[in-house]
Symmetry: C2
Subunit: 340 residues, 2 copies
């Protein structure tokens, strides 16, 4: 019979995970105490600030087990955190993984989850140095803390946008939203899981390398990732910077696949592009004179388009400029975990 975590117990599972990390994980520099002690320890590099973020994924709320396997779920959970570190201009170093597991969870599923974490961490030479395992009565939760570093003084915050700055966005927001809608609509034939939009939802990409390269130029005034959807996260930048923003609808990049999906779903493509979407693209602001240079950095770093979509204003609030010059409020709510 398939082995479950209740068969091998907490310490059995810790040993199993430690041996998987030994085999498949990287050994990142600076670690002085790894997994298995009261705390992990590491020696930070002189001249660097440390970045630290945490993000949770809860079964049934952030993912539907029927749609994502353990490996993809692990990739996705780690990607959210890598994206946050990259959105500050930093690079991932060390992860701590806290899992809440129902006792009947398959050991093989936990191992696949960790393989997913490593799939995302290994390219950075980053490692898992600690964590916590606990039972969970109802469904799994995955809570990851990721520690990164950035050269002292080079971190980019949400709070630095100034009136007159250009607003840019990487890639094509809305792809994940379109993928989720396709999943919810069904039918789930063999090809659906491999649809690029569905993949954008189940295993989104991060733009951490682009974020780091843009921050290193010193020209980015504010940056954040679009985990709450583009308008919501632009709203967070505006709130933190005490400014407003004006987005020109015709300049917002709409992916061809999103346009086709919208047609299929009978929806306006802008609903997908400007609604809640788990895309992990970056919203970037800078002096308009630096736009072409930053665009060339993004293109050179990862062939990612960095589209100029609007500008920061002194007026509070975010608005959308429609063709013909009419302004409408750009919904700044984003995704909210509690509102119904």
């Amino acid at each position: 019979m398939a082995e479950r975590v209740s068969d091998i117990g907490e310490w059995g599972l810790i040993r199993r995970i430690a041996s998987l990390l030994d085999m498949d994980g990287r050994r990142s520099g600076g670690v002085t105490t790894g997994i298995g002690d009261d705390a992990a320890s590491f020696l930070p590099r002189p001249g660097y600030e440390l970045l630290v973020t945490c993000d949770s994924m809860v079964e049934g709320l952030h993912y539907l087990p029927a749609f994502t396997g353990s490996f993809d779920r692990g990739r996705r959970a780690m990607t959210l955190n890598i994206s946050d570190i990259g959105a500050m201009g930093g690079e991932a170093l060390y992860a701590l993984v806290s899992l809440g597991l129902p006792a009947d969870t398959l050991v093989a599923d936990v191992e696949e989850l960790y393989r997913g974490f490593l799939y995302e961490l290994n390219p950075f030479g980053a490692s898992i140095i600690g964590g916590n395992l606990t039972g969970s009565g109802n469904g799994m939760f995955i809570d990851i803390t990721l520690i990164g570093e950035v050269e002292q003084g080079k971190a980019v915050r949400r709070s630095g946008a100034r009136p007159g700055d250009a607003v840019l966005v990487t890639g094509f927001p809305g792809r994940a939203a379109a993928g989720l809608q396709l999943l919810l609509r069904g039918p789930h034939d063999a090809g659906l899981a491999d649809d690029p939009l569905v993949r954008a939802y189940t295993t989104p990409s991060h733009r951490a390398r682009v974020g780091r390269a843009l921050a290193a130029t010193g020209y980015v005034t504010a940056m954040t990732d679009t985990s709450d959807g583009f308008p919501g996260d632009l709203g967070h930048v505006c709130e933190a910077s005490r400014v407003g923003a004006e987005v020109i609808r015709e300049d917002v990049p709409v992916d061809e696949a999103v346009r086709e999906a919208a047609l299929l779903l009978g929806r306006d493509p802008y609903e997908l592009v400007l609604g809640e979407s788990d895309d992990y693209e970056l919203v970037v602001t800078c002096d308009p004179r630096h736009v072409p240079f930053l665009q060339s950095v993004a293109a050179g770093c990862a062939a990612v388009p960095l589209t100029h979509v609007g500008r920061i204003t002194a007026a509070q609030g975010t608005v959308m400029l429609l063709p013909g010059g009419r302004k409408v409020p750009l919904d700044a709510a984003g995704f909210d975990h509690f509102r119904r």
Copy 2:
């Protein structure tokens, strides 16, 4: 009507928490980005290693809402983590708090939870610099990541115990186990919640200051906290150090209140002292010549008894020496979150 998190939403709750932290929390040094950005950032002190630990508390599994209010629950969750940092010889600096909250959670309960966190962090000048809020379908979970520091080379691990070393323990293990049994037995009259043993379970103390003072002497060879019960955690030290241990039953400190509770509960007091117990005492090993000095350090630091209870052996496994010289296995299982 009482305000619930669904009424004010995720960002409303974040604002509420940020303002509570502003008012009641400390501003610890080194923080360069606080709450509300993609990640927090701080500048580490030269000459120090960083320690990082995380621990979860899950409703119904680690606490029974009927027995502990939000403030005490917050204290307890933070104490577990402070204890881990102290058991490495370090001092707490920064916390990240990740909460999974059912949408009908009272805002006032979340605020009380944070007041509990601050109650434990403030004496260290430590602060909450980040975290995550998410919904949770079934019951609350609290996952805390705590970052601390220790002078470079001064961290004490579980892996340094050597044959011939003395085994010591702080305080009186088993008090939390006795408190939990009293709670489960009832009846819940007014006085029960204030019973010192019940308090030892609902709001345990940590020995972080003692751990730090002991580590600073340079004489501690291995240390861990007793979050899994004294025998279980001594077992973890032995496993990490590839040694065994012999504990003399007559030397194990038995609290007078635990003895009385055992009588009331119709149990052997050693079942409580040597079973699973959430005490957050410290297990310490050292060269036997340093025992009196370390005992004076513990007494001077926090008036905590540090009792010499046995010795490390070259043989694998932990055994208990009974009066008359008979040896029995000291159950090294401790508390396991998955075994049934």
